[in-house]
Subunit: 210 residues, 2 copies
C-alpha cells in the first residue's frame, strides 16, 4: 500500500497521474500549504526537505518527481509507461525528466519562490526574478517544442511518464505569462492529455480535496 | 565507442569519473567556455541546450548528468555502480541525484549564472543572488549531511554514481563560500573520493587539457 502526499497545483500532479494510470492502490493525503503544512514537524519526518510530493512505500519513503515516476513504472511494468528493457530509451526519458526538474521547473519557481535564492527581504531582486520568468520559462518551452518533443508523445510513439511530467508543467504556462499557442505541438499535447481518463481523475481528486 | 564532451570545473566531472571507473572506451572532447564553445553552431548540433556535458553513444546523444550516470551503470553492469536489480534502491539513487541537479546545483549556479533568471543588465539582482549562494548551498549540504548521507558512501555500503555526483558538487564548496568542515561526513567523503584512482585520472585528464 502506498501513501501519496501532495498539494494541488504543484508538481505532485505528475505522480498523481502516474498512480491513477497504473491503477495503484494508494491513499492520497493533502498537505495544506495555507497553514504551512509542508513545514510541520509531522511532515518533515516524512520529507525533511519540506516539499511535496512524497511517496511512502512498503520499502521506505521516496521524494523527487523523476525518481517517483520511474519507480511507479518499474513497480507496475504491465502499464508499459517506460521502455524498461532498453537502457538508451530509458536514459532519454531520464534526460527529459532531469531537464524538467533542473531547468523548466526551476525557471517557473522564480516567479513565486524567489526567496529561495536571494534574501527574502530583497523585494527588488524577487520582483526582478518574477518579471523574467515568462522569458526563461518560454525559452524552455521553445527548446522542448523544437528540439526535444518527438510527437505525438514526448518520446514518440510510446506514452510515458515524461508525458505526465510535461503536462503538469505545461498547466502553469498561463500563470507564468507564457503563451502556449506559440508551441503548437506542446499545446496539442496538453489538450490531448487533458482528455485522458486517468489525468481527469487525478485533477478531480485534487480539486475535490481543496 | 563513446564521445564525451566536457569542460573542466563543471558538473561534467561526475560523468568523467563514471567513465573512468567503469573502464569505458571513450574520446574526451573539451568544450572551451572561454570562446563560448558551448554556444557554437557545431556544439549546438550535439546539445541544443548549449551546456556540458554531452555523451555521444552508438544509439544517440545523451545529456543531463543523472541520465548519463545511470546509463553508464546500465551499460557496464559488472562495475556494480548502482543496485540495478532493486527498484527501490535504484529509486533512492535517482531521488538523491534529482536533488543534486534540481536543488544543489541550482543553488550553486546562482553564484555565477544569475543572468539565467533575471535580466542580464540587472546587476543588483545578480549581486543579490551571488551573495545569497553561500547560505542556500550551505542549507543543501546541511540537509544532505543530516538527512540523506548514509555513510560511508552516500547510499551506505555500496559505492554508487551518487558518490561521484556529490563529490563533484562538494568540490565547489570553497568557491561557493561554504565551509565544508561544518559537514564532517561529507568532508570525509570528499577526502576519500579524492584518493580514488579513477577520480584522480578524471581530474588529471581535465587539468592536463586546460
Amino acid at each position: 500500500m502506498l501513501t501519496f502526499y501532495y498539494t494541488p497545483d504543484t508538481i505532485a500532479l505528475a505522480t498523481h497521474i502516474a498512480l491513477e494510470t497504473v491503477g495503484a492502490e494508494y491513499r492520497a493525503v493533502r498537505v495544506d500549504f495555507s497553514i504551512n503544512g509542508q513545514r510541520s514537524a509531522a511532515y518533515l519526518k516524512i520529507n525533511p526537505k519540506g516539499r511535496v510530493p512524497a511517496l511512502v512505500t512498503d520499502h521506505g519513503i521516496l521524494t523527487e518527481t523523476p525518481a517517483m515516476l520511474l519507480y511507479i513504472c518499474q513497480s507496475f511494468p504491465e502499464a508499459n509507461l517506460a521502455p524498461l528493457n532498453d537502457a538508451f530509451a530509458q536514459a532519454q526519458i531520464n534526460s527529459f525528466n532531469s531537464y524538467l526538474c533542473s531547468t523548466v521547473h526551476v525557471a517557473h519557481a522564480h516567479r513565486m519562490r524567489g526567496y529561495r535564492w536571494v534574501d527574502a527581504s530583497n523585494s527588488n531582486a524577487i520582483a526582478a526574478m518574477q518579471s523574467h520568468a515568462p522569458r526563461s520559462v518560454g525559452e524552455c518551452f521553445a527548446l522542448m517544442e523544437c528540439e526535444m518533443f518527438k510527437g505525438p508523445w514526448v518520446m514518440g510513439v510510446q506514452y510515458t511518464i515524461s508525458d505526465m511530467y510535461l503536462f503538469t508543467l505545461a498547466q502553469w504556462c498561463e500563470a507564468d505569462g507564457v503563451d502556449i499557442s506559440q508551441y503548437p505541438k506542446i499545446a496539442q499535447h496538453r489538450k490531448v492529455m487533458s482528455g485522458i481518463a486517468a489525468v481527469k481523475r487525478a485533477i478531480s481528486a485534487e480539486s475535490a480535496a481543496m
